[in-house]
């Protein structure tokens, strides 16, 4: 009975209205991902090339545990750069139109 009481609805111009309301398709939706991943790759390359790896202090667990920010500052910079790159990669992969 439920199926019988589900009458067909005539189009009456509905399809035409939908078609005129359609936005121009974004043909290059892949471009956004490519740009973000490209930026992340360039950032990674620059970070590897320009970060002062030689002057980074050895990891000091006691400084880490005692939250000695001055001692940890160089490594915090590395962590921030890494986080920014990771963020760009995740944004590129998870981006929804």
């Amino acid at each position: 009975m439920l199926r019988e009481q589900n009458p067909y609805i005539n189009d009456d111009g509905f399809t035409a209205r939908v078609m005129t309301a359609l936005p121009r398709r974004r043909q290059y939706y892949w471009l956004r991902r490519a740009l973000l991943l490209g930026a992340a790759a360039i950032g990674t390359a620059l970070a590897i090339r320009w970060l002062p790896w030689e002057s980074l202090p050895a990891v000091d667990l006691s400084a880490l545990l005692s939250l000695d920010f001055q001692a940890m500052a160089p490594w915090l910079s590395v962590a921030l750069v890494g986080a920014a790159i990771l963020w760009a990669v995740i944004a590129a992969v998870e981006w929804e139109d």
Partner: protein, 181 residues
């Protein structure tokens, strides 16, 4: 042409005629579903249906093909309805608990009257039950497909269908002895 053929044409060739064919195929079930969900507000239902197809056009590249196209489309329609429910609280109205069942009518009631009372009865259901009943019983979706479209557990859909049917039977009890002339 199958839905898959049309979708491939839209995605590879930007074939608007192919998308128009998809709209023509599914405009009636989508508009009908939204008309039920909006409790008969056909203008709002058509606006939501139009937005559903526009979103489908924009997101067609995300359709994976693991489910039927109709299931995916109903999922978008459900989301559009839920968006407007957040703005218009009267659409989220819970089932009317104190409805007085229709008086028993004589067997000579015409089918048109039966359709009207079924419409009224469906409008009185809780929105979750109404959605489950309309998708499964009127549009032929399986419970699993309805759960996917409604983004809720399978058990919830089955419960809503069973409860909804029970309530409809109770409310329409006066028509069960109807015999056409």
């Amino acid at each position: 042409m199958t839905d898959t053929d049309l979708i491939v044409r839209v995605l590879t060739s930007e074939d608007q005629n192919a998308f128009a064919e998809l709209v023509r195929r599914y405009q009636s079930p989508v508009r009908g579903f939204l008309a039920r969900m909006t409790r008969g507000d056909t203008h709002l239902a058509d606006d939501l249906a139009q937005e559903t197809f526009v979103k489908a056009w924009q997101k067609l590249h995300t359709f994976r093909g693991s489910a039927r196209f109709s299931t995916w489309l109903f999922g978008i329609a459900v989301n559009e309805f839920r968006t407007v429910v957040r703005q218009r609280k009267e659409l989220a109205m819970e089932e009317i608990e104190d409805v007085v069942p229709e008086e028993n009518h004589c067997a000579a009631e015409p089918p048109g009257q039966l359709r009207l009372d079924l419409t009224e009865a469906l409008e009185r259901l809780h929105s979750g039950e109404r959605a489950a009943i309309v998708l499964c019983c009127q549009n032929g979706l399986t419970h699993e497909e309805a759960a996917q479209a409604l983004d809720c557990p399978l058990g919830t859909v089955k419960t809503n269908v069973a409860r909804g049917k029970e309530k409809l039977k109770r409310w329409l009890l006066g028509y069960q002895d109807y015999e056409p002339a």
